[in-house]
């Protein structure tokens, strides 16, 4: 069992063990790079990484360059999970056969994918990996849209967001369906650890990543990744938008252990209205009109109901 890395403060954390280089092509203000650094910097152990096709992949491995100072693989849009699962299977085989080159070191296996790769096209592969119990972590960089292809809706896009395939228009308020509950779905696989994280709450995030690395079996991390380009806010506002998301409880931070024990890990001191979160982003701009304003009230009601549900589950310890 490897030692849990001790992290004193943000400054030390943000500069420790940089295995993801700042030299990449992600948009200024993209939360992906913050999340990836927080995941990678949470451990000193060796890492075997995979990424599905998407923003992270196309921005970090453009030949002849790479931003990765750890072994990394990309195959396609849907199969980052299976790529790392295959590598994990090979690790087990070579361990059994005594052919590991560094037998004393135990690498962690991590796959990254966007919400398109996770909630939609790669869902089957992830489900397969979790059912089979590979010792791996899957991190969804959830920016609620197909950002790499220019802003089409995914099954993570929330109601009322304007996306290029569900645009707000004269007679439409944009996306009509509620965001898929991946946390519940992944917990239902009986995964030992499932957690929702946000990069602005970095201590909460590091604690969860380290718990995930310590768990035996498949771990799912749903990481909110505020998208300056598609959510339409200024690049310097990524963290403040993320604060609005976590403090309005639009994006509650919690974990589910062994598929049953739900713990809320962050309770905002001052819960802010959902309206403030929506109002800070261009993708919801059209909601602030007379004909659509009722949707903001519905949003608030949904967020309240979910928060109530999470608290009841936590109290009931189920």
């Amino acid at each position: 069992m490897s030692e849990i890395k001790k992290i004193k403060n943000l400054k030390e954390f943000s500069t420790s063990a940089d295995r993801f280089e700042g030299a990449n092509l992600l948009c200024p203000g993209c939360a992906h790079s913050i999340i990836v650094r927080e995941v990678l910097n949470a451990t000193n152990d060796d890492l075997i990484l995979a990424a599905s096709t998407g923003c992270l992949e196309v921005c970090t491995a453009v030949y002849p360059y790479t931003s990765w100072d750890a072994s990394w693989i990309h195959i396609g849009f849907e199969n980052g999970s299976s790529a790392v699962a295959g590598a994990e299977a090979m690790y087990k085989a070579l361990k059994t056969k005594g052919r590991l080159k560094q037998p004393d070191r135990v690498p962690k296996f991590v796959a990254f994918g966007g919400d398109g790769a996770t909630y939609d096209i790669g869902f089957q592969w992830i489900s397969g990996c979790f059912e089979r119990g590979h010792n791996m972590m899957y991190v969804c960089l959830d920016n609620e849209v197909y950002a790499n292809t220019g802003g089409q809706r995914s099954s993570s896009t929330p109601i009322g967001a304007s996306a290029t395939t569900t645009p707000a228009g004269r007679i439409s308020y944009g996306e009509k369906r509620n965001k898929k509950d991946m946390m519940a779905i992944m917990a239902a696989h009986g995964a030992p650890y499932v957690a929702q994280v946000a990069p602005n709450k970095w201590k909460d995030m590091v604690a969860k990543i380290q718990k995930g690395f310590a768990a035996e079996g498949p771990v799912y991390i749903n990481a909110m990744s505020a998208c300056t380009t598609e959510w339409k806010f200024a690049p310097e506002d990524t963290i403040s938008i993320s604060d609005l998301a976590t403090d309005s409880l639009v994006f509650p931070l919690y974990e589910i252990i062994d598929g049953t024990q739900l713990n809320i890990t962050y309770r905002p001191k001052n819960i802010i209205p959902v309206r403030d979160y929506l109002g800070a982003q261009g993708r919801f701009k059209h909601l602030f009109t007379k004909q659509n304003e009722y949707l903001i009230d519905e949003w608030q009601a949904r967020v309240d109901a979910k928060w109530d549900y999470l608290q009841r589950r936590e109290e009931a310890s189920v």
Partner: protein, 406 residues
């Protein structure tokens, strides 16, 4: 350590068991697979070996064929011996990742038990899946019987894993006709089989923790062409000599001789058919019978479908007057693939051979000796006339009215 099995010199195996035993003997590190008729017994057999301690690699039973090949790619990039098996619809589902495996230059051996592709759904043998993979960058070897399915697996691992090659390889065998037909198979001992293929030698392995590697990069118009050109270069220059060397070494070990192009009665042949899979054996019998009736008939079996042995095909057909190209896959709006490939191989040569195309055996329809007699009779007429006297493309063994084109 996995236990060994004392095989008899000759075992009665079908093609699936032969392939499964080969995977056991080369001690594959990771098999990731998904069941599909008629290839399923290969991985069932492997699972049985695993359950009884005869292999100590990992067996990953995935949620789909696409997931299976995705795991194979991850496992191969991690650095070890990898194999899988599939057929038909499963191969079609894998297709995207087949290009990934070859483009990433990863050695993987895929036993492809050939089967028709729906619609209409059909579980029986034809070469639609083999043809679907022909531009995917994989080496493709073809077996005509269980013995060859066994032998060619060893060749496939040896060539695929060679550091000058580093390309995945498919071993084709006909669904049911080979995969489920038990015949005597001359075996290698576990030790000899493993020794022939040798230890896996990793290269750019992700699990070498001191040397991180990036696999599966993005290249656009600046570098994509060069990557694909390197891949083609390896297929066109490295693979054929390596296969020939492996065939030679295998002959020394077993006495069984394989060739890129298998010729039968070709020395003085005036007419010949070119085909693949079990049809080669039927054609050899019929060619023999045609000779009794005064027709100088020969047979060419394609052993290596990719890379295409262009020069060897041209040489083998140099003096033939009429050639029938037998395609076991619907060309869907064109001449059959073998017709086009062979015509392309002969076009700039001095041959005056007349070429005709026969589509046969789709969805497992039998190719009978009578069908082959009719084909040879066509070819003889063309050879005597020195020109095409029959339709360029004919459907053979079809129910109802005859179907032909051009």
């Amino acid at each position: 350590m996995a236990d060994t099995i004392e095989l008899r010199d000759i075992e009665v195996w079908d093609g699936n068991m032969a392939a499964s035993q080969a995977l056991r003997q080369v001690q594959v590190d990771v098999v990731a697979a998904y069941p599909i008729t008629p290839s399923t017994p290969i991985v069932e057999g492997y699972a049985g070996f695993k359950a009884n301690g005869y292999v100590d690699g990992e067996f990953v039973m995935t949620e789909s064929e696409h997931g299976a090949m995705s795991c194979c790619i991850g496992a191969a990039a991690a650095g070890g011996r990898v194999a899988t098996a599939t057929s038909s619809q499963g191969f079609a589902l894998m297709l995207e990742t087949l290009y990934s495996a070859s483009g990433m230059r990863l050695p993987i051996v895929l036993n492809l038990v050939n089967r028709a592709i729906g619609a209409p759904l059909n579980v029986n043998g034809d070469h639609s899946d083999m043809y679907m993979g022909r531009d995917s960058g994989w080496i493709q070897l073809g077996a005509y019987c269980p013995q060859e399915a066994y032998d060619l697996n060893f060749i496939a691992f040896k060539v695929s894993e060679d550091h000058d090659v580093r390309l995945p390889a498919i071993v084709n065998q006909d669904g049911f006709m080979t995969s489920h037909t038990a015949q005597g198979v001359h075996t290698l001992s576990d030790e000899a089989a493993y020794k022939f293929v040798g230890d896996y030698k990793p290269m750019n392995d992700m699990l070498d923790l001191d040397h991180p590697v990036t696999h599966g990069v993005q290249t656009e118009e600046d570098w994509h062409f060069e990557h694909k050109a390197r891949q083609q270069h390896a297929l066109m220059t490295a693979v054929i000599p390596k296969i020939e060397a492996a065939f030679d070494e295998f002959e020394k070990l077993t006495g069984r001789k394989y060739n890129l192009v298998e010729t039968y009665n070709m020395d003085d042949a005036e007419v010949a058919v070119v085909c693949m899979g079990t049809s080669v054996e039927t054609a050899r019998e019929v060619a023999e019978e045609m000779r009794v009736n005064g027709v100088k008939a020969g047979v060419i079996g394609i052993r290596v479908f990719r890379p295409w042995p262009l020069e060897q095909i041209a040489a083998a057909l140099k003096n033939v007057k009429a050639v029938g190209l037998l395609d076991r896959s619907s060309p869907h709006g064109a001449m059959g693939a073998l017709y086009n490939e062979v015509a392309g191989s002969l076009f700039n040569t001095d041959t005056k051979a007349v070429l005709t195309n026969y589509i046969y055996g789709l969805g497992g329809r039998d190719l009978t000796k009578a069908h082959l007699v009719s084909i040879y009779t066509d070819l003889k007429a063309n050879a005597d006339a020195g020109k095409v006297t029959t339709p360029l493309q004919q459907y053979i063994g079809l129910r109802g009215p005859k179907l032909s084109f051009f």
